[in-house]
């Protein structure tokens, strides 16, 4: 639900409560005011009548006496403090011939040592007569408010929230890789100012961190590769000197360890670079051509291992992928399929616009296949590989939003990559040209 709608609903609720209470206040205020005015009028009228009485003339037909009652009362009936009071209630209206709401004001006077009680009355609007008026007017007020709030609820947020929306847009476009600090729109709203300041600080920090991470990766690469290169060079030179056989073995072992070290190192640096998204595709690459090239470069290895290669490569499969990454992806997958194959086995490469599928015969995996995507996870712990090839493959797929699955079915290792993120890679397994699930086919 939109923020402005929430505000509007709360505003309506508060308005209803205020209007209800306000209605009651207005009603009672009017009622009281009307009574007050009448009471004052009647007190004055009573005073006038008292003056007439004190004059002693006959005023019985005078207009003042129309609704007045004058009675002489004994001295002990005189109230001690108040000289007048009023009552309200329903009374008979002889002029109108029906019961009506009536206000009676009674005053007490002592005139020439005689005590009088003078009461006059008039008819005022009753509760039931006033109420519809009050309700009616509040109905109109409510309607007016509703219309205004509904309209302003649409228009005002557009104006007030525009800096927020612009900030949101800037943040959505923010890309660490471009290394450009964000430019947030000016605003006079304190909250947005605070938000912008916070975002600015946060993105600046992220940029800084990204920069130092990148620098670290590059420095580590530079600083470690040079000593490795020196050691390797020294070993190369040492190899050519006059050495004994046992020394040769030692050198060979050092060479092996060094090889591994340098490979681990360069792979980790590469993974970091992938995570930092340093490779973006400039233009689509033709995966068909690259796949053929990769297979060609491994052709002899495939033959050496007496592996049968089955391919189906669709022409002109273009995908948005950095050339180096495409190369890396294919090389890793193909070399993986060769390395973990059995002598006389099969490699099947199936490339279509929907995805790439590479399967190879091989021994059953020792660990769950999904774990083979983890870094330094190897199907065979004794093997010489460092177990990072598939981690690189997965990283590339994640980077490009490709969907990748690894399955081991009917003694085949199958890696399927779907180029469309909406299309799960497991679907690619269905259109294979070899029986994937023999049990399902009677």
């Amino acid at each position: 639900m939109k923020l402005t709608n929430k505000f509007t609903i709360w505003y309506f609720a508060i308005m209803m409560v205020v209007l209800l209470i306000g209605g009651a206040i207005v009603y009672f205020e009017i009622q009281w005011k009307i009574s007050r005015v009448e009471v004052v009028r009647h007190e004055k009228l009573n005073d006038l009548i008292a003056q007439q009485v004190s004059k002693g003339s006959d005023y019985s037909n005078h207009p003042t006496r129309k609704r007045a009652t004058i009675s002489e009362i004994p001295a002990d009936s005189m109230p001690k403090e108040a000289s007048s009071y009023y009552t309200r209630g329903v009374g008979w209206n002889p002029e109108y011939q029906r019961n009506e709401y009536r206000l009676v004001v009674t005053s007490f006077y002592t005139i020439n040592s005689r005590h009088y009680r003078i009461s006059t009355y008039s008819f005022i609007p009753s509760f039931y007569q006033l109420l519809p008026g009050v309700v009616d007017s509040f109905k109109w007020i409510l309607l007016l408010l509703l219309i205004l709030v509904a309209i302003s609820g649409k228009l005002i947020p557009k104006y007030i929230l525009s800096p927020f929306k612009r900030t949101l847009k800037v943040i959505q476009c923010f890309d660490l890789k471009q290394r450009k600090p964000i430019l947030l729109p000016e605003t006079r709203t304190d909250e947005f100012k605070e938000l912008n300041e916070f975002l600015k600080k946060m993105t600046d920090k992220a940029l800084e961190d990204y920069q130092s991470l990148k620098e670290f990766a590059e420095n580590a690469s530079h600083e470690l590769q040079t000593p490795t290169a020196i050691i390797r060079g020294k070993l190369d030179l040492l190899m050519e000197s006059d050495i004994r056989d046992d020394q040769a073995i030692l050198i060979a072992e050092m060479q092996n360890a060094l090889e591994k070290l340098s490979r681990i190192h360069s792979s980790l640096t590469l993974l970091t670079k992938l995570e930092n998204k340093e490779y973006t595709a400039q233009k689509p690459v033709c995966l068909s051509a690259l796949t053929r090239e990769a297979l060609e470069s491994f052709e002899e290895l495939i033959q050496l291992k007496s592996i049968e290669l089955e391919t189906y490569i669709e022409d002109k499969v273009y995908i948005d992928l950095h050339n180096a990454l495409a190369d890396l992806l294919l090389t890793n997958l193909v070399s993986n399929a060769i390395r973990h194959n059995i002598p006389g086995g099969v490699i099947n490469v199936h490339l279509t616009k929907a995805g790439l599928l590479i399967s190879n015969t091989g021994l059953p995996p020792q660990v769950p296949v999904a774990e083979l995507f983890e870094r330094f996870k190897k199907g065979d712990p004794a093997s010489d590989s460092i177990g990072i090839g598939l981690a690189i493959v997965r990283q590339i797929c994640e980077l490009m939003n490709f969907n990748i699955v690894y399955e081991y079915v009917s003694s085949r290792h199958i890696i399927a990559i779907s180029f469309q993120s909406s299309h799960p890679a497991s679907k690619l397994l269905q259109n294979l040209n070899f029986p994937l699930y023999p049990v399902m086919q009677p």
Partner: protein, 238 residues
Amino acid sequence: MKVLIIEDHQELARNIHDFLAKEGYICELSGNLETAREKLGLFQYDCILLDIGLPDGNGIHLLDLIRTEHKQSNVLIISARNALDDKIVGLDNGADDYLTKPFHLAELHARIRAVYRRKNLGGTHIVEFNEINLNTDTFEARIGNTTLDTTRKEFDLLLYFLVNKNRVLSRQSIAAHLWGDYTDNLANFDFVYQHVKNLRRKIANAGGTDYISTVYGLGYKFTMHKHTAETKNLDEAH
């Protein structure tokens, strides 16, 4: 061949120097941009090995100078930075090749020779040794008058051996040369063994001399002389 090594790491520079000196190359060292500029101002070189990360600046800046003043020099960038941008910028600015640290010295030598062949021998792409004749343009190998039916990798291997004659080539170095940096999954050096075996067989079948010998534990060596009895025995024991 006169080579200028612009590299700030003394040890690495010495490695290269020692290795190339054995080939009879005349090598000069320069540890920073300034001395490199001086040397380039005074002398001419056939090949310049250029490290990008130098203490007083980026080696890429030297490429302009080299391109204008040393047109006939080959430039090989050696860098620890495997950044693709560096590679592209370097090659765009007139470098002839790019090698990432850590490299095998034999590989460096092979690259130096390759760019030298491309640029200096006026279109002839022939590498010869006794009866062996390799055409690096057509990838044709001949033993005397017989054409050797080699695969591309075997050709590369033979060329690698020829360039690095009398040197022990480790299996790692050969694997890296043949399959590049992607040898992670192919650490199994059986492949190297297979290739060498096939190559030797083919040369022998064509009537060539078997110059390649196994060096116990380490790798292989292309020797100008026939095998001594000792290495021959070890060879067979492999």
